[in-house]
């Protein structure tokens, strides 16, 4: 199927869990004038995965790859939430009722609204469920 406008390319970077690794990633992005809109670090024993939404994902992938990092694209979606009590519940309820599993998520609170970034087991079904349930998805073009 053709690319859904709501599917956003997140970059994921394998990183050893030691001082300076995040700085190395961030410096590389700065050098390419790539802006980070949202990011999170998942940590396991001895290593971690840095996940980020950036304005130029292809360029970021290229640059980090050249520097020897293990980089991958991951499809995620972004849902606009009301920045008030119950905002997260709205979105989580829709996905739960649609039997869609959230693999991981992270959020940020912007000027206009709060945004929840989601990695789910079935992206297409999640998009359909959120639209049907009255939620607001953010188009990838808004980031990228």
């Amino acid at each position: 199927m053709k690319e859904n406008k709501f599917v956003i390319k997140q970059i994921s970077v394998f990183s050893e869990n030691k001082p300076g690794r995040l700085a190395a990633i961030a410096r590389a992005l700065q050098e390419e004038k790539i802006n980070i809109m949202a990011f999170s670090i998942a940590e396991a024993d001895g290593f971690g995965v840095v996940r980020a939404l950036v304005d130029k994902p292809k360029k970021a992938h290229e640059k980090l790859g050249e520097l020897g990092f293990n980089v991958a694209f991951t499809d995620v979606i972004a849902v606009q939430m009301k920045d008030e009590p119950g905002g997260l519940y709205e979105t989580a309820r829709i996905l739960g009722e649609g039997h869609i599993n959230i693999e991981y998520a992270y959020a940020y609170s912007g000027k206009e609204a709060a945004v929840l970034i989601l990695r789910v087991d079935n992206v297409e079904a999640a998009i359909a469920a959120i639209q049907k349930g009255g939620g607001t998805l953010i188009e990838s073009s808004l980031f990228q």
Binding site: E16, A42, D45, V49, G68
Partner: protein, 433 residues
């Protein structure tokens, strides 16, 4: 060319053994007369040259060890006087104080002949361009292969080690058909070439690798052959034997130990009794014709097995299977013997991780703790932590199965583990005894 010296290489076994006996007899008389060290050692063991009446009587002779060379540093084991020497080499001393070896003109001649036979046996000859990427200088690798390759009429490209990008350019520009280096350096070259946008398989004429100076596995051979599109041959030697000395033939079933130059025994490391063909044990080598620095029943400390049958290539000389460990590289982890080569073997069967690794041994409380660092391959990288954890579990499980001891595995970034251009030093032992 079928063989460099068919008269010797295809000599009937009985004739070869008769020749070995004559050479051994001469060697023992010579040492008893001219080597104060070996004379004393024979007396301590109550052996006289007259006791050697068959080839099997070699077992009556006392052993020599690496420490004998160190204890007699620099040249007190030499039997030739300095004016008869035409060259020295000095070992890198990875396992202790450096050792000095010396050569007469005839020693160099035999060394060169041994390599000429080996290079021809793996299909090389006039018209080939052999890139020698072993170190030149005090190390025996570079100069040894250099003269062997020139002897068979090949063109030598003496690049030595280092400056890998330039090596790859020269390999392309001068159309090298063979390379002699350590297997880990060849892997490193392959990686550097890819970064330069060069595929050794598709963009060079390389067809043969003469790889040695460190232990490597059959899986590593398969990986090198598939990835780089070459035939990879094992070459064996140490400076005490002259240098790189014995090479595999196109059959790839172990390196031929030329019987006119050396006699090889495989012994049970505990009882020192000879083991039947095919069984793994400690390799003991006697150099039958060395003049300057004779080595008798030299216990190198390498573990291997012998195949005494006539080879498919027609050569009658025994083949020794690739070295699978060293008596002194052995790590003892919680009372269990562990060889780094076993870890290499285990990792080769796991496609998600690279071929480089590092072992860090430490002591946590009273227990030995072994950590193996491996690189996650780009293709295997997943955004999901659980996928990465399961790669780690898989490696831990595989290592535990092969080593019989629990091991911690740490996944590290690709390219972050040290690459070695000479001998790989893959073990960091932080235990304080």
């Amino acid at each position: 060319m079928r063989a460099w010296d068919p008269r010797i290489e295809e000599m009937p076994k009985a004739d070869l053994e008769a020749m070995q006996y004559r050479l051994l007899k001469t060697l023992v008389y010579r040492l008893y007369s001219f080597s104060p060290f070996y004379h004393r050692r024979m007396e301590e063991n109550r052996v006289h040259p007259d006791d050697i009446r068959t080839l099997g009587d070699i077992r009556k002779l006392p052993f020599m060890f690496k420490r004998d060379l160190r204890d007699n540093y620099p040249d007190r084991l030499f039997v030739s006087s300095q004016e008869d020497l035409v060259r020295y080499h000095v070992s890198s001393g990875t396992t202790g104080k450096p050792t000095v070896v010396g050569y007469t003109e005839r020693d160099l001649e035999n060394w060169t002949a041994s390599l000429a036979r080996g290079l021809v046996s793996c299909g090389l000859g006039r018209g080939d361009v052999i890139q020698v990427s072993y170190g030149y200088g005090l190390f025996t690798g570079g100069l040894g292969l250099h003269y062997g390759a020139e002897r068979i009429g090949a063109t030598v490209l003496p690049t030595s080690v280092g400056n890998t990008e330039r090596q790859i350019e020269l390999m392309q520009d001068l159309k090298a058909t063979a390379i002699a280096c350590t297997p880990s350096y060849l892997l490193h070259m392959g990686e550097v070439a890819e970064k330069m946008g060069v595929s050794i398989k598709d963009d060079t004429l390389l067809k043969v690798g003469i790889l040695g100076a460190e232990p490597w596995s059959e899986q590593m051979r398969q990986r090198i052959q598939e990835w780089l599109g070459i035939r990879a041959y094992d070459i064996y030697g140490t400076s005490e034997l002259s240098g790189p000395m014995f090479c595999e033939c196109t059959e790839q079933k172990g390196f031929h130990v030329w019987g006119d130059l050396a006699y090889v025994e495989i012994l049970d490391p505990e009882t020192l009794e000879p083991l039947p063909a095919g069984e793994r044990g400690e390799m003991v080598i006697t150099m039958l014709q060395k003049e300057a620095l004779p080595m008798v029943r030299y216990r190198i400390g390498d573990i291997s097995a012998i195949d005494d049958s006539v080879c498919g290539c027609g050569r009658t000389h025994p083949r020794v299977q690739r070295i699978t460990g060293r008596v002194d590289d052995m790590l003892i982890i919680r009372g269990i013997n562990v060889f780094p080569s076993q870890i290499e073997y285990a990792l080769m069967s796991i496609p998600e991780v690279g071929q480089h690794f590092q072992i860090i041994v430490d002591r946590r409380g009273a227990l030995d703790d072994m950590l193996v660092q491996v690189e996650v391959k780009r293709e295997a990288f997943s955004d999901k932590i659980t996928d990465l954890m399961s790669i780690r579990k898989k490696v831990e499980h595989k290592l535990k199965n092969i080593l019989n001891v629990a091991v911690n595995v740490e996944l590290v970034e690709p390219g972050s583990l040290p690459r070695f251009e000479g001998k790989a030093k893959r073990v960091i032992d932080r235990r304080k005894i």
